[in-house]
């Protein structure tokens, strides 16, 4: 009876993985192998090239060398890139200036939810001044990003 109940318990647990049909799948030994296999082709846009290029230069010359200081997810430089991509250069600059001052605020606890890597989750779409874009997440939650 105990055995039967264990089997029932186990099979009911596993059932959820079968709520969609699946096929044979490859199991990579190393995560990086999987990344290489599944990496999508990059979009080649002039704006993106300039932005990504400047971010790379900033990372290479300053960000990588002055340590891991940004408490936010995404980091301030990535926030700037994302805000410019989502809006325009002027609004992006204003969003970055606001983020930069919020970064300097020493009392950030109980304001932002935590992301999976332990940083404070502060997504760019909450600051585009479009009410419909705002996804409010309470600071008690941990975001899986």
């Amino acid at each position: 009876m105990l055995l039967y109940s264990i089997i029932l318990f186990c099979s009911s647990l596993s059932a959820q993985t079968d709520w969609q049909r699946w096929e044979k799948a490859y199991i990579p030994y190393s995560a990086s192998d999987d990344e290489v296999r599944t990496k999508p082709g990059r979009e080649r846009k002039y704006g993106n090239f300039v932005l990504d290029g400047s971010k790379k230069l900033y990372n290479f010359f300053i960000s990588d060398l002055d340590g891991d200081n940004c408490p936010f997810q995404p980091s301030c430089s990535l926030f700037f890139i994302q805000s410019v991509k989502l809006t325009d250069i002027f609004q992006g600059a204003l969003m970055f200036a606001d983020r930069f001052t919020r970064d300097m605020n020493l009392i950030k606890i109980n304001h932002y939810p935590f992301s999976r890597n332990g940083r404070l989750y502060d997504p760019v779409w909450n600051y585009t001044l479009r009410q419909e874009n705002i996804k409010f997440i309470p600071c008690t939650e941990t975001v899986n990003e």
Partner: protein, 282 residues
């Protein structure tokens, strides 16, 4: 005489006839098992599981309990659903008819744990198997999979030790030794960066980054000294802060490079094993 013939019928034929119903049922069950196996062989794993579940549901004799659960687990494993595979391999252990089947099912749990990168769990299971006297003649296999577990736990020196117990020139021992040799020392990279900014990055082969770190730390060190000498205290503090930030960042950067490079070396070895190693794999 008539009565004795009927007695014969009663004693000999009755049990045969009564069991024939079960035999017929077993035919259907066997047919069902063969059909499920065919689906499995043709890589239709989702459907194979459905048919195996049907088999388990109708086979009240439990004759195929081990095989069906084992095949369900293998199907899940082939679909990279390792958690479910572990569950069904564990269930199949309950129906193992002998030590050999039990060992086979337990080993599959070990392999799934290796594949889902919970090799610590597989190592615990292997240690239990090692201590179990029922499997005393399987020691070589246990050691082999311990080596694999250590490889996936990024403990290549331990892996080399295990494969060395099997053979001094085991190909996986040679590979593990090479990985140990190629890896960078994270603490050494940090210590030398503390003494001379940039040296940790240079040690890990990142020369440009190392020189940049040295440049920033040197520049702000000089500027802060110059500011203090010229009694510009505010500038001095700002520049000192920047010097400390770049000095601290240089240590973090050296550590990051060493860890990243070590990970790349381990990953490269695992990819090599997956595609080129000819021996048993998880």
């Amino acid at each position: 005489m008539k009565i004795s013939v009927n007695k014969f019928l009663l004693v000999i034929i009755l049990p045969v006839l009564l069991s024939s119903g079960e035999l017929c049922a077993q035919d259907y069950i066997k047919e069902q098992y063969d059909y499920s196996k065919e689906l499995f062989k043709s890589e239709q794993y989702f459907d194979a599981i459905t048919e195996l579940k049907r088999l388990l549901f109708f086979d009240k004799s439990g004759a195929y309990n081990f095989e069906a659960n084992y095949l369900i687990a293998q199907s899940y494993k082939s679909g990279a659903r390792l958690n479910d595979a572990v569950k069904y391999f564990t269930i199949s252990q309950m129906y193992a008819r002998n030590d050999s089947l039990l060992f086979q099912a337990k080993l599959e749990v070990v392999k799934c744990n290796i594949l889902r990168h919970t090799a610590g769990q597989s190592l615990n299971l292997l240690n239990q198997l090692e201590r179990d006297e029922h499997f005393s003649n399987m020691q070589r296999e246990i050691i082999y999979w311990k080596g694999w577990s250590y490889m996936f736990m990024d403990m290549w020196d331990e892996a080399s030790l295990q494969f060395g117990k099997i053979s001094d020139n085991h190909p996986l021992k040679e590979l593990s030794d090479k990985v140990v040799k190629d890896k960078y020392s994270v603490s050494f990279a940090k210590v030398i960066s503390y003494i001379l900014p940039g040296s940790g990055q240079i040690y890990t082969g990142e020369y440009l980054s190392g020189l940049m770190s040295l440049g920033w730390a040197g520049l702000f060190g000089c500027l802060s000294a110059e500011s203090f000498v010229a009694d510009r205290v505010f500038d001095g503090f700002i520049n000192s802060g920047l010097f400390l930030r770049f000095h601290h960042g240089n240590i973090q950067n050296a550590e990051k490079f060493a860890v990243e490079k070590n990970k790349r070396i381990s990953d490269k070895a695992l990819i090599y094993v997956q595609y080129n190693y000819k021996g048993p794999k998880p």
